[in-house]
C-alpha cells in the first residue's frame, strides 16, 4: 500500500516535471507550429537564473521564489530575441526552423559552459522544502509537491490566459485562421511575439523547478527536450489540455513501466507505446478543428 502510494505519486511527480517542460512548447510548437529545439536550453537558462539569483541573495528560500519571475523574464526574453532574429523569417518552414534552432541550442550550451564552467553547479534546496510529508506511510518529498503545485499553477494560468484575456483570444484566433484574424485587425506579428515570449518564459520557470531535483549543468536541456516534444505530440498539437493529459499519462505510465521492469527498459516501452499510439491516432489525444485551408 505504502509502495503503491509512493509509486502513484512518483508518476504524478514525473508527469508534473514533463508538463512544466512541455507547457511552453505546447504554445510555441503547438499553437505556432515552430519546432524549437532550443526550448531545452531555455529551461537550462531558467535553471542558471535560479543559480545566479541564489548566489546574489544567499538565502535559498527567498531566492527560489524570486527566481521564478526572473527565470520567466530571462527565458521569455531569450525566446523573443530568437523569434525576432531568426524564426520570423522561417514560419511555415518547419524543417528549417528545426535545424536553425538545433544550432542555436548548441550555441547556448557552449555559452553556458563558457560563463558558468562545465561542471554542474549546486542550487541549494531551501530549508522549507527539505524532507517530506507522510501520506498513509509513504514519504512524499516536499520538493516534488512544490513542483506539482507549480506545474498545476502554470497550467491554470496559461489556460486562463488563453480563455479569458484579449491576448488569449488573439492567439486562438491566429491559430484557427491566421488570414481571417489579420483581416479582422489583429496584428499577427505582435501576437506571435507575445506567444513566443510566454512559451519561452514557461521554459524558464521549468528550469527553476528542475534545479530542485537534479544537477544544473550546461547539458540539462537535451534531458528534457525529447520528452517535452513527445508530450506535445501525444497530446495533440495545439492543445494545452491534451499536453496536460499526455504529460500525466506518460509520467504515470513511465513509472509503472519502470517499476515493473527497469529504468532503461521502461524508457524503451514508453517510446514504443507512443509510436503505437501515434499509429492509431496520428493527430494525438485531441485534434484542433479548424476551417483554415493551410
Amino acid at each position: 500500500m505504502e509502495l503503491l502510494i509512493g509509486q502513484m505519486f512518483a508518476g504524478l511527480s514525473l508527469g508534473s516535471v514533463l508538463l512544466l517542460a512541455a507547457l511552453g512548447l505546447s504554445l510555441t510548437f503547438g499553437q505556432m507550429g515552430v519546432i524549437n529545439m532550443a526550448h531545452g536550453e531555455f529551461i537550462m537558462a531558467g535553471a542558471y537564473t535560479a543559480f545566479v539569483v541564489q548566489q546574489a541573495l544567499g538565502s535559498a528560500g527567498v531566492s527560489l521564489l524570486l527566481s521564478l519571475p526572473a527565470a520567466f523574464l530571462v527565458g521569455g526574453t531569450m525566446g523573443l530575441i530568437l523569434e525576432e532574429l531568426l524564426l520570423k523569417r522561417m514560419y511555415h518552414r518547419p524543417l528549417d526552423t528545426l535545424l536553425v534552432t538545433f544550432g542555436v541550442s548548441l550555441i547556448l550550451q557552449q555559452m553556458a559552459r563558457d560563463i558558468f564552467g562545465a561542471p554542474s553547479v549546486d542550487v541549494r534546496v531551501p530549508a522549507w522544502l527539505q524532507g517530506n510529508v507522510e501520506l498513509l506511510g509513504a514519504p512524499i518529498p516536499l520538493t516534488r509537491l512544490f513542483i506539482l503545485a507549480l506545474a498545476l499553477t502554470c497550467l491554470a494560468a496559461l489556460a486562463l490566459l488563453l480563455k479569458a484575456t484579449p491576448l488569449g483570444r488573439r492567439i486562438r484566433a491566429v491559430v484557427v485562421n491566421r488570414d481571417l484574424a489579420e483581416s479582422s485587425g489583429i496584428s499577427s506579428r505582435r501576437t506571435d511575439q507575445l506567444t513566443f515570449f510566454v512559451g519561452s518564459g514557461l521554459a524558464g520557470i521549468a528550469g527553476v523547478a528542475v534545479t530542485l531535483i537534479g544537477s544544473t549543468s550546461p547539458y540539462l536541456g537535451p534531458n528534457y527536450i525529447v520528452d517535452a516534444f513527445l508530450v506535445v505530440v501525444a497530446g495533440g498539437i495545439g492543445q494545452i489540455k491534451g499536453a496536460a493529459i499526455a504529460a500525466f499519462a506518460l509520467g504515470v505510465l513511465q513509472s509503472v513501466f519502470e517499476f515493473s521492469t527497469t529504468a532503461s527498459i521502461g524508457k524503451v516501452l514508453i517510446l514504443a507505446a507512443i509510436v503505437i499510439f501515434l499509429q492509431v491516432r496520428p493527430q494525438g489525444i485531441f485534434t484542433l478543428k479548424t476551417r483554415s485551408l493551410a
Binding site: D122, R124, N132, V233, S255, A263, L278
Partner: protein, 420 residues
C-alpha cells in the same frame, strides 16, 4: 483540407523520429578501431632529438563527464609542471598536447589516434569511463603506444599498452564488500548507471554475495545522465536493504541523493557506499544530501602522508584554496610520475623498453608507496573506506593493513572463478 491532413500527420512523425535519433545519440557505439586506423607499420614517430618531449592529455573537457575529468586534467597539468621544474624526464622538458574527449567514446578513440600519429606523443594520459578506455584500447594496441588510465574500473582487463593506475576491483569493490560484511550487512541493493563499469562491478558483487551469505535484494540501472529517481528510490526504500551499493556515474548522483534524502533515507537507516563519488563531487550533490555516506577509494585528501601534504598544498597553490583533491586526480598525478620513473629506468622513451622496465617501478605517491606489477600493468594500492564529513571532505574509517597486489582477473578468489 488535404494539405492540412498531410501537415498534421507529418509533424508528429518527424518529431518522433527525431526523438528516437536524439535518444539514441548517447549510446551510439561504432567500431572504435576504425576511428584510429594504424598508419601501416607500428614505426613510432616520436621525436626524441630535441630538448623537449611531447606527451598527450586526453580528458573530457566538455559533455556529461567534464565535471569529473577536468579535475584529472588539472592534476596532470600540475604533475607536468612539477616534473618540468625539476629538470624534466631524461633531461627533456614535457610538452603537453591536450585533447578533449567530449564524453564520447568514439571521440576518445579518434583523438587518441591523433595524439599518437599526428602529434607523435611519447605517452597519453587520461580517459575516465570504461567505455572510453575500451574504445581507446584497440587504437593503442594497433599503434603500439602507451596509455596511462587513472580511474578505478571494473577489472577483467590487462593490456600491454595500458597502465592502470586506478584501483581494480580487488583494491576497491571487494574491500568495500569486506567492510560491509564486517559491519554485519546481510542485504544489499545495487544502483548503477547503465554501462560497462556498473554492470561488471555488479556481476562481481553478485558472485561475492553468493559466496559470503549476503543477499542482493535489488539491482537497478539508469541511462547515463538520468535525473529521474523517484521509482528507483521507492524500490530501494521498499526493499529494506541494509545498505546500497552505488555505481552511478556523473550528474545522476545529484538527482539520486536528493531524492534519497527527501524520502527520509539517511546514512544511519540505510548507508550508501559509492565508488564514483569523491571530494570533487560532494559540493555539486549538496553536502546536506550526502553527509555521513560512505565511499570506497584508495586515496582521500585528508590522508596524512608527507607526499600527500605536498601534493595538496601544491594543488591548492596552483588552482585555489577552495579546490579539493580526489582519488582519480591523485592516480593521474601518480601516473605521470610513474611514467617518468619507467622512462628513466629504461633510459629511453621507446615503448618496448618502457614496457620492459615497468615491472617493479615504484613511486612515493600521496596515497603511499605504489609499485607497478609488470604482469598485468596495474599498481599496488591500499584500499580505504571513507565517510563524508561535515566540511565536505572524506575521512578514512577503515584501511587495509597493507597495500594490496592488483588482481584484475580475480584469480586469487575462488568464488570469482566463473566471472572472466
Amino acid at each position: 483540407m488535404k494539405v492540412q491532413s498531410i501537415k498534421g500527420a507529418f509533424i508528429p512523425v518527424a518529431v518522433t523520429a527525431l526523438a528516437a535519433v536524439l535518444t539514441g545519440c548517447g549510446s551510439q557505439i561504432s567500431d572504435p578501431a576504425a576511428a584510429g586506423q594504424p598508419s601501416g607499420g607500428t614505426e613510432s614517430c616520436v621525436d626524441t632529438s630535441g630538448d623537449s618531449i611531447k606527451v598527450g592529455f586526453l580528458n573530457s573537457l566538455s559533455g556529461t563527464m567534464a565535471i569529473s575529468e577536468t579535475t584529472v586534467f588539472d592534476s596532470l597539468s600540475l604533475a607536468a609542471e612539477e616534473i618540468n621544474a625539476d629538470g624534466g624526464v631524461l633531461g627533456k622538458q614535457l610538452e603537453v598536447i591536450s585533447e578533449d574527449g567530449a564524453s564520447e567514446p568514439t571521440k576518445f578513440a579518434e583523438r587518441a589516434g591523433k595524439l599518437i600519429q599526428q602529434d607523435c606523443t611519447a605517452a597519453v594520459f587520461g580517459g575516465w569511463t570504461s567505455s572510453s578506455r575500451k574504445a581507446m584500447l584497440p587504437v593503442f594496441e594497433s599503434n603500439d603506444a602507451l596509455l596511462f588510465y587513472p580511474v578505478q574500473y571494473e577489472g577483467l582487463e590487462s593490456s600491454e599498452n595500458i597502465f592502470y593506475t586506478g584501483a581494480t576491483t580487488n583494491q576497491q569493490i571487494i574491500p568495500a564488500l569486506d567492510y560491509l560484511a564486517e559491519q554485519g550487512t546481510k542485504t544489499i541493493f545495487l544502483v548503477g548507471s547503465d554501462y560497462v563499469f556498473p554492470r561488471t562491478a555488479n556481476k562481481i558483487i553478485n558472485a561475492y554475495a553468493e559466496a559470503h551469505g549476503m543477499e542482493i535484494v535489488g539491482e537497478e540501472y539508469t541511462p547515463l545522465g538520468s535525473t529521474e529517481f523517484s521509482t528507483i528510490v521507492n524500490k530501494v526504500r521498499d526493499s529494506g536493504a541494509d545498505a546500497v551499493f552505488n555505481t552511478l556515474n556523473g550528474d545522476s548522483n545529484v538527482a539520486f541523493f536528493r531524492q534519497y534524502t527527501s524520502v527520509g533515507l539517511t546514512p544511519d537507516t540505510m548507508p550508501v557506499v559509492s565508488v564514483s563519488i569523491a571530494e570533487e563531487e560532494v559540493p555539486g550533490i549538496g553536502l546536506e544530501n550526502i553527509e555521513g555516506q560512505l565511499t570506497a577509494w584508495d586515496y582521500y585528501q585528508t590522508l596524512d602522508t608527507p607526499a600527500n601534504t605536498a601534493f595538496v598544498s601544491a594543488f591548492k597553490d596552483k588552482y585555489g584554496a577552495d579546490r579539493v583533491t580526489s582519488d582519480p586526480m591523485e592516480a593521474a598525478y601518480t601516473s605521470l610520475y610513474l611514467w617518468k620513473e619507467m622512462v628513466e629506468k629504461a633510459g629511453s622513451f621507446d615503448v618496448d623498453k618502457v614496457q620492459e622496465a615497468a615491472d617493479g617501478v615504484s613511486f612515493e605517491a600521496p596515497e603511499g608507496t605504489v609499485t607497478v606489477n609488470g604482469d598485468n600493468n596495474h599498481i599496488t594500492k591500499t584500499p580505504r573506506i571513507g565517510k563524508i564529513t561535515s566540511d565536505g571532505l572524506i575521512e578514512t574509517v577503515w584501511e587495509a593493513p597493507e597495500a594490496v597486489e592488483p588482481d584484475p582477473y580475480l584469480e586469487n578468489y575462488d568464488w570469482a572463478s566463473g566471472l572472466s
